[in-house]
């Protein structure tokens, strides 16, 4: 269960970015999560709810984009999505491969917020 500490990392990075940009309320946190990142989405959502308490992220929604594992197959000289994490075989030709192109991502992509309404005058 390291998802809580991951959630605190996310909040810390989001707060720093928001501070830098002068953003005072965040609606959505967009995260990319690879299938090999070793992070369980449900536990992360739970951890996120705990970690945002008392911050300007308190009302924010966590949106997780799942990133599948893609491997490079030297035999076909191409990349393909791996349908089964328990079989590192090229889905086209069946050759074994350990060349992972993506799927380890754990990245805070962006924050969504509402622009403060323009003042009159």
């Amino acid at each position: 269960m390291h998802e809580l500490s991951i959630a605190y990392n996310i909040v810390e990075i989001a707060l720093a970015a928001a501070n830098n940009a002068g953003v005072t309320q965040i609606n959505t946190v967009n995260l990319r999560l690879g299938a090999l990142a070793g992070v369980e989405s449900e536990s992360l959502r739970f951890g996120f709810e705990v970690a945002v308490k008392g911050t300007l992220l308190e009302q924010a929604r966590l949106v997780i984009e799942d990133v599948p594992v893609r491997v490079y197959c030297a035999a076909c000289a191409t990349t393909a999505e791996l349908p089964d994490l328990r079989r590192f075989l090229c889905p086209r030709c069946g050759a074994p491969t350990d060349q992972i192109i993506s799927g380890r991502e754990l990245e805070l992509v962006a924050l969504e917020y509402d622009d403060a309404p323009a003042r009159e005058g």
Binding site: N9, A14, N27
Partner: protein
């Protein structure tokens, strides 16, 4: 009006940055650093105790040992005669680069050939945390069953070598070596597999040869 603030930052980027610093520091000092991963009870400490005892005659070895609550492991490793230090993580289920850095204080890395980092017993959480190691080794005990690699592919994929432990018990627990090799190769094709028993000493020479070979390559 809804707006988007682009961040594009790795959630573990701070750990990655510290780990990169550590890796440079280890390389400058000429110390070969190995991160050991396994589930609880797979025999990390026992394997390390025997490994360090055998290596310390001709090489300068030391260990950092992660554990949730006790310092029993460091005490056991100290019996090998090599320096060992405990990292008590509290409720943290994995080691992070800043913990490693903190616990290196006072050690002259240039006086070491090999530094082992025994991670907290867990095959999920430690996977994503780079500690600046030059090699990552995952242990699989014969008593755990042959399907561990399929249950925890992340750990096996990120490793450079698999050490099968407790082969003295293989027969008693009906360990199926072929099935284990098949499963390991399914998630990490071609990874070296070394069979060991810290109790009988079987395979320890091959394991130490592998460490020496990787250590040399690292220089």
């Amino acid at each position: 009006m809804p707006r988007l603030l682009e961040v594009r930052q790795g959630v573990l980027s701070e750990n990655d940055r510290l780990a990169a610093d550590l890796r440079q520091r280890f390389a400058r000092a000429g110390v070969f650093v190995v991160n050991l991963l396994s589930s609880p009870g797979a025999g990390k400490t026992r394997l390390l105790e025997e490994t360090m005892r055998r290596m310390s005659a001709t090489r300068r070895v030391a260990a950092l040992v992660g554990d949730l609550a006790t310092d029993n492991d460091a005490q056991r490793l100290a019996r090998s005669g090599a320096p060992a230090r405990q990292i008590t993580t509290g409720d943290l289920c994995h080691l992070e680069a800043h913990l490693v850095e903190k616990h290196l204080e006072g050690w002259d890395l240039a006086q070491l050939d090999v530094l082992f980092i025994e991670n907290v017993g867990n095959l999920v959480c430690p996977t994503g945390y780079d500690l600046g190691e030059a090699a990552r080794v995952v242990l699989l005990a014969t008593t755990e069953g042959e399907d561990k690699p399929l249950k925890y592919p992340g750990a096996f994929i990120s490793a450079d070598c698999v050490v099968v432990t407790k082969i003295d018990l293989a027969e008693a627990v009906e360990f199926d070596r072929q099935a284990a090799e098949h499963n390991i190769n399914a998630v990490h094709p071609g990874i070296p597999i070394i069979y060991t028993s810290a109790r009988s000493g079987a395979g320890l020479e091959s394991w130490i040869d592998w460490l020496d070979m990787r250590g040399r390559r690292n220089q």
